[in-house]
């Protein structure tokens, strides 16, 4: 039930009896098994009709549309298999309670800072001098303890992220320069790669949240309604360093993605179909990687970690038991 299918080429996606069929522009036909699909990611120019959408809806398969600009364009979500008025009520209560909201927002930033820091120390161990960056990140982490509102927490995250991004130029080969983190649209290759990875993390968090009865529009760090599924933005912050950035470093440093995998159009630098395919494949492989979970006493996939995070949040909301953010422990 948790498989993602990515469609990179342009063409038409249609219902063919009880399966999904992709007819590419040159007439090639591919079939996508729908029974075990969690979501279909559409990256190319894809035509579809309502017949297809109701079919996917019936099978509980989400569609994440990746277009242009910041990549993520939107999701077509099937009717939720689960709704729980009580969960939503508790979500809103926590949002409306300044202390509780702040606590959650801080926890998310704390986890996010921890996971960024882990990446920096990993590369520091591989011959880079990141002492100052680590100091800056730690200073942000300390400041976080005393922040008194959500905006400040947001600001602390931004400070840590800025320090974190300053390591990218050193970690990556010549030609990949961040200069400044910009999106909507991403102006250069590295910005573009970060955006693409982050949007994949975001979409997977949408799927993880959907598996619970949590309302994806009620969030704590981000302002609800800032984007459609703001709770996904909250969770995605925790996983971006672990998923998106690690994939990015690996692919670029191993020359699997190069400058030739981008094209610039009207000031936006976007991955080509080949580039998206390469990244998408590596990303899916990463989602399937497993790690021993210390409390569950079994191996869990990186993808399941996002699900776990949604459970943890829901558990906190329903039981009042403390929420501990995901911090990479391995």
């Amino acid at each position: 039930m948790d498989r993602n299918y990515h469609v990179f080429s342009a063409g038409r996606l249609e219902r063919q009896d009880d399966t999904l069929r992709l007819v590419t522009e040159d007439g090639e036909k591919k079939y996508i098994p729908v029974e075990n699909a969690e979501a279909v990611f559409l990256h190319g120019q894809i035509d579809y009709n309502t017949r297809l959408l109701s079919f996917l809806n019936k099978h509980g398969v989400a569609v994440h549309v990746f277009g242009w600009k910041d990549y993520y364009a939107g999701s077509l979500m099937p009717k939720r298999g689960q709704t729980s008025g009580q969960t939503v009520v508790e979500q809103v209560r926590a949002y409306d309670h300044p202390d509780r909201r702040l606590k959650l927002a801080k926890a998310i930033v704390e986890g996010s800072i921890h996971n960024m820091r882990t990446n920096v120390t990993y590369y520091a161990g591989r011959g880079h001098d990141f002492d100052e960056v680590i100091e800056d990140i730690d200073a942000a982490g300390e400041r976080l303890e005393s922040v008194t509102d959500v905006n400040e927490a947001m600001g602390t995250e931004a400070t840590a992220r800025k320090a974190y991004y300053s390591t990218f130029d050193a970690i990556l080969p010549e030609g990949f320069r961040l200069d400044r983190r910009e999106y909507n649209p991403p102006p250069n290759e590295l910005n573009s790669l970060i955006s693409f990875g982050n949007s994949l993390v975001y979409a997977n968090c949408v799927s993880a949240i959907r598996a619970t009865a949590l309302d994806p529009t009620i969030s704590y760090l981000h302002e609800p309604g800032e984007r459609r599924y703001s709770l996904s933005l909250d969770l995605a912050d925790l996983f971006k360093p672990v998923l998106a950035d690690r994939v990015l470093f690996r692919l670029v440093n191993r020359n699997q993605i190069g400058l030739e995998d981008f094209e610039t159009e009207l000031g936006s630098c976007l991955l080509t179909e080949r580039g998206r395919k390469t990244y998408g494949k590596a990303f899916e492989e990463t989602l399937e990687r497993t790690v021993e979970h210390p409390r569950l006493n079994r191996k869990v996939s990186y993808q399941y970690l996002m699900r776990i995070e949604a459970y943890k949040l829901k558990k906190h909301l329903l039981t009042g038991e403390p929420y501990e953010p995901f911090k990479r422990w391995w």
Partner: protein, 192 residues
């Protein structure tokens, strides 16, 4: 969220509350206990709390089907299923005894208590006294269960315990028990 142990703000004994609810008398608050709730109370109070709050865990997970559905086919003799007040669903053997199938060797006591509760309910609500039999299909054994005075007390204690769990604002903390590994809430409790 504050933890609360107040018994719903009423001084009424949960047992009387349950009986009054069952008899459709006017009560300060409805209180009903199903056989499954009785069973869960002895398996895991936390799970009982989740159940009472409709905490659904996962749209994909096929929830662990436990208890009375296990080994339904193990006995070929005729059984009549009946439901009383929508609260308890029991199986009667031809000889009139109430039968409860014991799901696994570990969960004997929860099954025994569920059966005892049925007998108690029949006696106090319907006014019929029945005997029960706990069936062990795997071992091809049966254990007669009688509603002794001692068992009645235990049922009533459990009803009070259940009342406390389900009216509490927070669930009892997770405690690692052998049953956890096969529980639908496992990842919910232990992902921390």
């Amino acid at each position: 969220m504050t933890s609360s142990t107040t018994v719903g703000g009423s001084d009424v004994d949960p047992v009387s509350l349950l009986l009054a609810s069952a008899r459709e008398e006017s009560v300060p608050e409805e209180f009903r206990v199903t056989g499954v709730m009785m069973q869960y109370y002895f398996v895991c109070e936390r799970e009982l709390w989740f159940l009472s709050r409709d905490v659904e865990i996962d749209r994909d997970t096929v929830s662990v089907v436990r208890g009375t559905n296990v080994d339904d086919t193990a006995y070929s003799e005729k059984r009549r299923s009946m439901s009383i007040d929508g609260m308890i669903a029991l199986d009667l053997l031809d000889d009139g005894r109430v039968v409860e199938v014991k799901p696994s060797s570990k969960l004997t006591e929860p099954a025994r208590m569920q059966l005892s509760y049925y007998l108690w309910y029949l006696k106090h609500v319907a006014g019929v006294e029945k005997e029960g039999v706990l069936a062990h299909p795997r071992e091809r054994k049966r254990e007669p269960v009688e509603l002794t005075e001692e068992r009645e007390k235990k049922v009533e204690e459990a009803i009070r315990g259940i009342y406390e769990v389900v009216t509490s604002e927070t669930p009892p903390p997770a405690e690692e028990k052998p049953y956890c590994s096969s529980c639908a809430y496992h990842d919910f409790c232990w992902s921390c």
